[in-house]
């Protein structure tokens, strides 16, 4: 079988990031931003907002203070690539932040690191100390601090993260205003995923074309995938975007893959019969990197149950569709399984999940019903019987 999986090595490649920064600092803000826009880079946390555009919005704001935030609150089940990036190439993350600072006119940066990754703190602090010294040498005014999380999935949502940084409950804000207008402490803030910042640095190093030439029209470049579940090759892989799920399963499956959950607990479950036509990317199913494989020994009911239990606990609880909806989905499948509710109750729950998708306050609530819908659509019989 032809191997259509293309491995790439941009993220973990050791580069002379200081040289890249030195060069970039001599350019104009617009030049840097235009390269990022031109490359087609979209946010690697999952939502996929065009990074260059985000930077441009922040740059265009007038303010006495702006911030850069590195979102290292990697809480999506099945995702662990940011941890590895911060372990292996922290200096590239810091470099990406400085580049964003230069481009947007921010002199302060924060890394919001999830509490589960506290063990990374000593090495990160060491990297930051070294980085500050280097910035001083380059005569670039940019400081980076770390703020830690304390166990709350929803803080990965950018505005919830900022609330948490401000010492509050991590409850997502109403949008608009967007963070580029009013972010941390009400100041214009560009918040980017760990991986996105490293790609931005690599685009500054190589120019936009190398990145743009990879992937597809909608999904440029490569992406770091976190592969787990029933696979002999669990781990982290940087792959060119645009592959089909079939290609992916051929590479990583154990020969008995019945379903793949793309995008973590808030992502979509794809059954074997759809592997061929499913593209991994923004034109198909986007992912922050989480790829969980399940073989035929797994009960899809148990898997869905796990996901819903996760959301029932990790919803911030402020908005009705998400807080109560997640409970209803979980209790609902239990009731159908036990015969307390008829199988047709699943149809009511699917209507509810549509409401959750369109009426929840933030991305968490809007995506929480994804696994429910996709598992019900593909494996209805496993939920009922």
């Amino acid at each position: 079988m032809e191997n259509k999986i293309k491995k790439v090595d941009l993220i973990f490649e050791k580069v002379d990031y200081l040289e890249v920064l030195e060069r970039s600092f001599k350019r104009t803000q617009d030049e840097i931003i235009l390269d990022v826009i031109d490359s087609g880079l979209r946010g690697r946390g999952g939502a996929g907002f065009p990074t260059g555009l985000k930077w441009k919005f922040a740059k265009n704001e007038e303010a006495d203070q702006k911030y850069v935030i590195c979102n290292a609150d990697e809480g999506e089940p099945g995702t662990f690539k940011d941890r590895e990036i911060l372990t292996q190439v922290p200096e590239k993350v810091l470099g990406g932040m400085a580049l964003c600072g230069k481009a947007t006119g921010a002199s302060e940066g924060y890394i919001y690191l999830r509490g589960e990754y506290n063990f990374l703190l000593p090495s990160l602090y060491a990297a930051i100390d070294k980085f500050h010294a280097q910035m001083k040498e380059l005569n670039f005014d940019f400081t980076i601090r770390i703020k830690s999380g304390s166990g709350a999935y929803v803080c990965g949502e950018e505005t919830a993260l900022m609330e948490s940084m401000e010492g509050k409950r991590g409850e997502p804000r109403n949008k608009p205003p967007f963070p580029t207008t009013s972010g941390y402490l009400g100041k214009p803030t560009s918040i980017n995923n760990v991986e996105t910042l490293v790609f931005a640095l690599m685009i500054a190093k190589e120019g936009p074309n190398q990145f743009k030439d990879m992937g597809t029209f909608d999904s440029r470049g490569s992406k770091v995938f976190s592969v787990s579940g029933d696979t002999p090759k669990a781990g982290i892989y940087e792959l060119e975007l645009g592959m089909s799920l079939e290609d992916f399963v051929n590479e990583f499956g154990d020969g008995d893959t019945k379903a793949v959950q793309i995008g973590g607990a808030s992502g979509f479950c794809v059954a074997r019969k759809h592997f061929k036509e499913t593209v991994i990317g923004f034109e198909g199913i986007p992912t922050g990197g989480s790829m969980m494989l399940f073989n035929s020994t797994r009960s899809m009911y148990n898997i869905l149950n796990d996901y819903l239990e996760f959301f029932e606990e990790e919803s911030c609880g402020q908005c009705t569709p998400c807080r109560v909806g997640c409970q209803q989905l979980l209790k609902g499948i239990e009731a159908v399984k036990k015969g307390i509710k008829p199988p047709s109750y699943l149809d009511e729950l699917q209507k509810l999940s549509e409401t959750m998708k369109i009426a929840s306050k933030c991305g968490l609530g809007q995506s929480a019903p994804n696994p429910f819908n996709s598992i019900i659509n593909n494996f209805r019989e496993e939920i009922i019987y």
């Binding site: 606990e313 908005c319 009705t320 209803q328 209507k351």
Partner: protein, 593 residues
Amino acid sequence: MSTYKVNLKVNNLNVSVDEGTTILDAARQLNFKIPTLCHHDDLCVAGNCRVCVVEQVGNRLLPAACATPVSEGMEVLTNSMKVRQARKNIIELLLSEHNADCTKCFKSGYCELQEMANEYRTGDHIFLDVRSKNEIDISSPSIEKDDSKCIRCQRCVRTCTELQAVSALAVTHKGKEMKISTFLDKPMNDVVCTNCGQCINRCPTASLVERNYIDQVFDAIYDPKKFVVVQTAPATRVAISEEFGLGPNRSTGKMVAALRRLGFDKVLDTDFTADLTIMEEGTELLTRLKEALVDGKEVALPMMTSCSPGWIKFQEHIFPDMLDNLSTCKSPQQMFGPLAKTYYAEKINKNPADMVVVSIMPCTAKKYEAERPEMRGSGYKDVDFVLTTRELGRMIHQAGIDFEKLEDEKYDSILGESTGAAVIFGATGGVMEAALRTAYEIVTGREVPFANLNIKPVRGMDGIKEAAVKIKDVKEEWSFLEGVELKIAIAHGLANAKELMNKIKSGEADYHFIEVMACPSGCIGGGGQPIPTNMEIRKKRAAAIYEEDEKMVLRKSHENPEVTEIYKSFLHKPLGHRSHDLLHTHYYPRKRY
């Protein structure tokens, strides 16, 4: 502010609104009502409950109308199929976590969720029951908290924080465990709650209601051995009409008539003791000023009013080092109680042990105040039961009295006579105005220099009001006040009070006399007043209060003949020995945290 206009379409109708307007308000301008729950005109935007979601053409998501500003060219549909399905679902979800035992609920008929559920005819409960199973917290003498009825709209939390700066209530936990609670989930009586009841006024369901004592009061009325007298606070008489769908209105006479029909033995007026408060408190202020200016004593100034029990408890918790600044006067309610069971009992030849004193108050903190151990000046519990305006409304409904058709009746005498100065106690600035009308005249022998006695600078809804009154050509015995500029300030709502206190503490501001009312707009906006509340309603209540004042024959407390009489025959003089025993009190520092 910008006057930049934004053009949009709501339900295919064009509308042009100011930049920054929300979709909700833009729709209101076209007379489209979008249902809301977490939204409240007095509070900041939350966007939590999501019942106000609307369809925005071209947007996959349904934005919350209350939290989304309009944008140029926006096309909004407030009642599309998508919106209806989502809204219905959301109401059903709220019902699935709500103890919808409506027939047993105190708020039935007044509940926003119930109204919405009826409107949308959700009917059969399609979702599973996810109610929290909890004990109702009845630890507080003022407020009952039932989490099983909570829909987590956070209106109470925003009230407690934004309007009152108390933050006794907070959102705690997350996910399905998320709830509205107190520090370490302690009972309401054990936390910094001031019992102001503003949370109750804004709770859309019955998760927060007053402790109600309707049955106990009826039991007393039906007990032939008990002589039950009732007193009514100034602010109730302009709001009780709202309980009968009549809007804020002067309805003193109808209220008196209703109380008599309910079977109270005597219908008396807290306004009488409001006048008395002015005599005591005015004298106290002048005494303090004399001690400071003439005797050079260390006196706590500015002196602060003490009529509002929520404010008193706030001060005890938050500024325990400033308790000496509070006037030692009891509130009018608590002056009435001991006088009823001593002076009045004697006059009508009743054994105070057989008397029951009931108050009708715009306030929930008064329930707590009546329970304070100090409030037993008569040798008995001075005030036995405190009912809110809402509870009175409920009693009138229960008794089948047609309020609207009642003929006006007058208060009984004695303890029923009052002046316009007393009735304005009900609005922010009113105590100050009443005090000035009397104090100025005592000191100068002339009326206050304001047209028709209306001291306009102390009126109105500004959070903190300041004024200065120059005292000139004083009577001889007050010569030490000649040329003094009396500096005063007024705050209503505890957030404003806190701001004012901090200014005083930091030395940034310097006053002689301060009026504080715990509730926004004063007692007319009290925690025991009819629901709903908003600025428009409170302004109407205030207007009714000032109208009531203007219609009174007597408008200065010192002209109240019953006041003159009680000093002549019983109290002898303000701040005298009997006053000290019956009408004054002291305060206790409490935990701030």
